[in-house]
């Protein structure tokens, strides 16, 4: 099994508006592991953008396709194109015990000539609350280098969570 080399980490213990992980500077695959992510306000979406030279890219070039696994109803497709952010993590809960937990793999982020791709796996509680997790992938359709990932809630702050970027070698 390959090695993981930590590149950046941020553990939120008091509310913050956003978390940015940067440091992608090689053509390796990168991984982001996240756990215990809770919004300050119940029922918030966790939004995601890639960063260019440390700044979140707000252009409408984010595509996602995933399958929402959930306990309360039939699984649904989760797809979007040309959004100004990755729409992946929905309706996050903040009641006792609830948290969101996510694994990303990042591909071609360092390339100036290829799009930035991600795969994602998620398990957490929505605000209903029900177990829910989106599984799939996404792409930022801009052929320029991305050096990191930016996370923020649809409204309000991030109450807790550990976000860690690793390089897979």
């Amino acid at each position: 099994m390959g090695k993981l080399v930590q590149v950046a980490t941020n553990t939120v213990t008091s509310a913050v508006a956003s978390v940015t992980l940067t440091g992608i500077n090689s053509d390796d695959v990168y991984m982001i592991a996240m756990n215990n992510i809770v919004p300050v306000d119940n029922s918030r979406n966790l939004f995601v953008r890639v960063t260019k030279s440390g700044t979140p890219d707000t252009t409408s070039n984010y595509d996602v396709a995933g399958k929402q696994l959930r306990t309360d109803t039939t699984f649904s497709n989760s797809a979007s194109t040309n959004s100004d952010k990755f729409l992946i993590h929905f309706n996050q809960g903040n009641l006792t015990g609830e948290a969101n937990n996510i694994i990303y793999y990042l591909y071609n982020f360092n390339s100036s000539s290829e799009y930035s791709f991600i795969t994602f796996e998620e398990t957490g509680f929505n605000s209903t609350p029900n177990l829910m997790g989106n599984q799939g992938g996404g792409v930022h359709t801009v052929a320029s280098a991305s050096d990191g990932v930016h996370f923020y809630m649809s409204a309000g702050n991030i109450a807790s969570g550990t976000f860690t970027l690793y390089r897979v070698v």
């Binding site: 080399v5 306990t71 039939t74 015990g97 609830e98 796996e121 998620e122 829910m132 997790g133």
Partner: protein
């Protein structure tokens, strides 16, 4: 040193229905990656394998507090959804028989965090009764107590082969 730390390797010994992997989760890590390979029944009788959590005293947790949701992707027929709430046993990890067997990668989150439930997710690749299936599943133990490990159990057909490795994802702060 890699931030992916091998914590434990446990292999099936003899012919058993349950393989317990206790005392592998500690306060040193919040996220664990688990690989399971070559999980095979002792006979040609196929069976499914389900997971349970183990508490900090080494006991299998049997209270009805497990929710799960999974997608079974079968090569030869329609995919199926599997979901339930408040179960005493966890989700099906995979099915297997002999000699093909099953393999999976799992993640566990927050097992030693008393402010969070313990979450898991896994993906498997298996052959059972000559049908290839991959299962993608998420799961939660709706308790905030300490969880030290997990168990894998075949319902009726014992296994005599299988290796489980547990890795911790190390986070270095500062």
């Amino acid at each position: 040193m890699s931030n992916l730390r091998l914590i434990n390797e446990t292999s099936v010994s003899g012919s058993v229905n349950t393989l317990e992997v206790p005392y592998v989760f500690t306060s040193d890590f919040d996220i664990y990656k688990v690989t399971i390979k070559d999980w095979e029944t002792a006979s040609t009788t196929a069976d499914n394998c389900y997971m349970r959590f183990i508490d900090n005293s080494g006991n299998i947790i049997t209270t009805a507090t497990i929710d799960f949701a999974g997608l079974g992707m079968i090569a030869t027929t329609s995919f199926y959804e599997s979901k339930n709430t408040n179960q005493s046993a966890g989700s099906i990890v995979f099915g297997s028989d002999n000699p093909e067997g099953a393999n999976a990668v799992m993640y566990f989150f927050n097992p030693m965090n008393t402010n969070s439930y313990t979450f898991s997710m896994h993906q498997s690749a298996e052959i059972k009764n000559n049908n290839f299936t991959s299962i993608k599943q998420i799961q939660v133990l709706k308790q905030t107590g300490l969880v030290s490990g997990f168990s894998l159990t075949n319902y009726v057909s014992p296994v005599d082969k299988g290796t489980v490795r547990v890795y911790g994802l190390r986070v270095d702060n500062g």
